[in-house]
């Protein structure tokens, strides 16, 4: 590990600003490391920085494959978009380029962000730097693995039902899903439009705050974007005095790995030491989150993925007539999990089933959002383990899609409610990282980051072991 890559992103930006490090040297160090990556985390590595200067002083950025980057492959981990180079760049990537973060590379992911293990990539699974036989989590597994392995100072991911938080937990790094609408979705290859949100994957909480601050914007190209009412400040709180942490009693702990529960309890104890109070809170409908999510997300996905038809871009498999061109193209281009979700979503929207599935799921979504609003009347944050398990073995859950879906149990409710949540590493179970999730009301990112920072200092998690 070179000294340059020992620095966090914020430290590296300061070093460049202060003239202690050249932006070129910084970029080259990461470019070489990314090019030498052995985890299959990268699908593309840039040769040269495309921007410099700015508030981020040339600290390079790894970007999940599904963000459109002009002239650079953007495939969303799918064979149907293999080699696709878009004619425009996603707003959030553009925002960060303007702030002085050059594109380091494009990272591997589950196909169309559908997955919790990164095994659904058309370009092969990503390995977890903590244990090469295990998954890095998903769907932003490439981004998480790259940051954990130190081949990127930080990375962009997207979170639809946990796709930033869960891989962050499994790779021992920080991942934040912002409030829905805080970051523009323009140029993000859509999975589920009402849930997708871009966020940072970073080594620490400070880097997450720094990156998020330059991501947010109200984008005229995204009607659902709001931006933020205030600036994201860098966190500095070391105490949690007066903070009420809500521990939901309605979420089942059945199936949660003992080591994950132990880490969770330890962190709650630490929080109390820092001045927080732990209170029981009620999210009576959160237990139904997975069911509602696995109707809404596939339904939207089935429609979002209809554009992959072999007409204007991407793979085309000819079959003679038009109908066969469609069915062959989509058969050859989509992987098994994507097909499964397209089928599930198409079914949930189809005539005669809409009310029983999509209609009901949308109502459950209302109940879950209301649960959180009511909970936040009594507590500042809701806290849970990020994922029920630590990283599992590659192939372990491949034949059991439902078990894989249940890995999103703790992260999906926040996605349905559109509220921000962060995962910070809070220990090891059997030598593998565990994650602690804090969720707050809409637009409470600054407060979440502050609380997460205080906990991070107290936990003292050491992730340097995997950065070689």
């Amino acid at each position: 590990m070179t000294q340059v890559r020992d620095l966090t992103a914020a430290q590296a930006a300061d070093a460049v600003r202060d003239g202690k490090l050249s932006a070129t040297e910084l970029f080259d160090a990461y470019r070489d490391a990314a090019a030498a990556d052995e985890l299959n985390a990268y699908l593309y590595v840039a040769e040269e920085p495309n921007v410099s200067g700015g508030d981020l002083h040339g600290v390079p950025l790894a970007v999940k494959d599904l963000f459109c980057t002009k002239g650079v492959i953007s495939q969303s981990g799918s064979k149907i978009l293999e080699g696709y180079k878009p004619p425009y760049t996603a707003t959030v990537v553009e925002n960060l380029e303007k702030a002085g973060a050059p594109l380091l590379g494009k990272t591997n992911q589950d196909e169309f962000a559908m997955g919790s293990s990164n095994e659904n990539s058309a370009f092969g699974p990503v390995q977890n730097p903590w244990d090469r036989e295990r998954v890095p989590g998903g769907s932003s597994g490439g981004s998480a693995a790259a940051v954990a392995a130190g081949t990127a100072p930080w990375a962009l991911g997207t979170d639809t039902g946990g796709s930033i938080r869960q891989p962050a937990a499994m790779c021992g790094i920080v991942g934040l899903k912002p409030t829905y609408g805080a970051v523009s979705r323009f140029g993000m290859i859509a999975f589920a439009s009402s849930l997708d949100q871009a966020g940072p994957l970073t080594r620490d909480v400070t880097d997450a705050a720094l990156l998020l601050g330059h991501m947010v914007s109200k984008d005229p190209c995204d009607a659902t974007s709001i931006g933020r009412p205030d600036e994201i400040a860098l966190p500095r709180s070391h105490k949690l005095d007066g903070i009420r942490l809500g521990r939901p009693d309605d979420l089942s702990t059945e199936g949660v790995e003992p080591g994950v529960m132990e880490a969770y309890e330890r962190t709650l104890k630490l929080a109390e030491d820092l001045g927080a109070t732990i209170e029981t809170c009620h999210l009576p409908h959160a237990d139904h989150g997975i069911s509602a999510y696995y109707v809404i997300a596939p339904a939207e996905a089935s429609s979002n993925l209809a554009r992959f038809d072999g007409v204007r871009y991407g793979l085309r498999s000819n079959g003679g007539d038009l109908l066969s061109m469609y069915t062959h193209t989509r058969h050859d281009g989509f992987g098994a999990e994507v097909k499964r979700r397209i089928m599930l979503g198409t079914y949930a929207l189809s005539s005669g089933y809409y009310d029983a599935y999509y209609g009901r799921a949308q109502r459950v979504r209302t109940l879950i959002a209301t649960d959180f609003k009511q909970a936040f009347e009594n507590v500042d944050f809701v806290v849970t383990p990020t994922a029920p398990t630590t990283a599992f073995k590659i192939g372990e859950l491949a034949d059991d899609p439902l078990a894989m879906y249940l890995n999103d149990y703790f992260t999906v409710p926040m996605s349905l409610a559109g509220i921000p949540a962060i995962s910070i590493p809070n220990g090891l179970s059997d030598g593998r990282p565990t994650g602690f999730q804090l969720a707050g009301p809409a637009f409470s990112e600054s407060r979440i980051l502050d609380a997460a920072y205080a906990l991070e200092q107290a936990i003292g998690f050491d992730g340097s072991e995997t950065r070689k």
């Binding site: 339904a299 209809a306 204007r312």
Partner: protein, 473 residues
């Protein structure tokens, strides 16, 4: 048994915005194929729609003009189906919460008005070498994403003729609103008809068929007539009408089924998550209201009550906006009499121009007003003025100058007219005799003779007066 047709109409109107419904591409007017596209209207991965405020304003104007209830908030849905002219695999349209509901135009009630995006254009390309043994088409996305308002009527129309007449009124209304070019040939106004028949007196509806995309008033009338006849034939021979989508071929007059039955449609509508609900703000509504011109029905009323036109003439003018505008412009100029001017336009000018827009013709409103003035002043006869109008339509120009140049000025009672009458009486001694004896029936023969001789410059009434005085009657 007698059957009565029950007809509902669905009209798609391309709105006259500058840019497309959900992106900043300019609308296309015959530009080279695929030069008016962007990531949004090509359905590129990651692109998102943002609704055009002007399209919503134009939609509201239609709603106001048709006296609809305007929804304070309405939402866009996705209508999912695969077709090469549909880049996203879904059309953004409105479903159960449209922009406007209810309302009426004339005696036909409006069911709803909603906004959506147009499909692209699919052009047959002949045989393709690459796709062996099959025909190919080529997609041009210039039109894709053009804003459309879909106007759906209640099934209040009872004949093909009524359908065609009502559509003319709708077209005039929309043109008057300035919300669309309403050009049927170019596809900016398209009409589908839902048609069923039922025994006269029955309140039940029969099974309806949908007749697609008829692109002229004539085809609409003929298509609906043909479909009514087809349904009657089926029912009278003991069969049952099947619900299907049909295409009318104006060349052969035949009706064919457009889609195979096995492909049952399931559009899987759901709320478009990329767009937020449209909230109609006070400003938007006020701006739509302010832009609302006087509509044809109100204009006809005004022509009748303020200008003294007959109800029929008033409607003839007001329901053809281009003629009503021409009329009002002509009125402004020379202080012409409103009634004769209106009659000249509805009787003479329309007959000469057909479907041509008078504003684009060689006749200027001022010239027509001047001509009608010359008639009123008896400087030219009606017959002479018709000849002048022929000239104006052919070549344009100044009516007085044409009268002068062509020698079409009305004859007075001395000189030439006197001589012509004398000649006519001399040439028809038997007629002259019958007139003298008090039988006025053959007066027309003398007038006709005089007219021929003077090339229509004589006034019929004047000729009669002179003949009577000459014969001492």
């Amino acid at each position: 048994m007698n059957y009565e047709p029950v007809i509902g109409l669905e009209i798609h109107v391309q709105l006259s915005t500058r840019t497309k419904m959900f992106c900043g591409c300019e609308l296309s007017f015959g530009e080279p194929p695929n030069t008016r596209t962007c990531p949004v209207c090509l359905g590129l991965p990651g692109a998102l729609p943002v609704a055009n405020e002007e399209a919503i304003r134009l939609g509201l104007m239609i709603g106001l003009a048709l006296e609809c209830d305007l929804a304070p908030t309405s939402i866009f849905h996705r209508k999912n189906y695969f077709y090469p002219d549909l880049p996203k695999g879904y059309q953004i349209s409105q479903y159960d919460e449209p922009l406007c509901r209810g309302g009426h135009l004339g005696d036909v009630r409006i069911h709803r008005v909603h906004l959506e995006e147009d499909a692209a254009k699919l052009v047959h390309a002949g045989s393709s070498g690459r796709i062996h043994g099959s025909e190919a088409s080529v997609v041009d996305f210039n039109r894709g994403g053009t804003p459309l308002a879909e106007i759906v009527t209640e099934p209040d129309v009872r004949s093909a003729e009524q359908a065609s007449e009502w559509l003319r009124l709708l077209r005039t209304t929309l043109r008057r609103l300035g919300v669309s070019d309403v050009n049927m040939e170019e596809g900016s106004l398209r009409c589908d008809a839902n048609i069923s028949i039922r025994p006269v007196g029955s309140q039940e509806f029969g099974t309806k068929t949908e007749l697609k995309n008829m692109n002229s008033f004539r085809f609409i009338q003929r298509g609906i007539e043909a479909e009514i006849a087809r349904q009657k034939g089926i029912v009278e021979s003991g069969g049952q009408v099947e619900q299907e989508t049909l295409h009318f071929d104006p060349a052969t007059g035949s009706i064919t089924s457009l889609r195979s039955k096995e492909e049952a449609h399931d559009y899987r509508y759901f709320p478009e998550p990329d767009l937020i609900p449209i909230a109609i703000t006070e400003e938007l509504l006020a701006s739509a209201r302010a832009a609302l011109p006087e509509l044809p029905a109100a204009r006809a009323q005004r022509f009748e009550s303020e200008l003294g036109l007959s109800a029929d003439t008033a409607k003839l003018l007001a329901f053809r906006t281009e003629y009503a505008d021409f009329y009002e412009e002509a009125l402004e100029g020379n202080g012409s009499e409103p009634v004769p001017l209106a009659n000249w336009i509805t009787n003479e000018l329309t007959a000469r121009l057909g479907d041509e827009d008078p504003q684009q013709s060689k006749v200027s409103p001022a010239a027509l007003a001047q001509l009608v003035g010359l008639v009123s002043e008896k400087k030219v006869t009606n017959a002479g003025a018709r000849q002048v109008l022929d000239k104006l339509v052919a070549d344009g120009g100044d009516p007085a100058a044409i009268v002068e140049a062509e020698g079409l000025g009305a004859l007075d009672d001395t000189g030439e007219l006197d001589g012509a009458i004398d000649a006519a009486l001399a040439a028809n001694p038997d007629i002259a005799e019958r007139l003298r004896s008090g039988d006025m029936k053959p007066m027309g023969v003398i007038i006709g003779h005089v007219m021929r001789e003077t090339k229509g410059r004589a006034d019929g009434g004047e000729v009669t007066r002179l003949v009577r005085s000459k014969l001492g009657l």
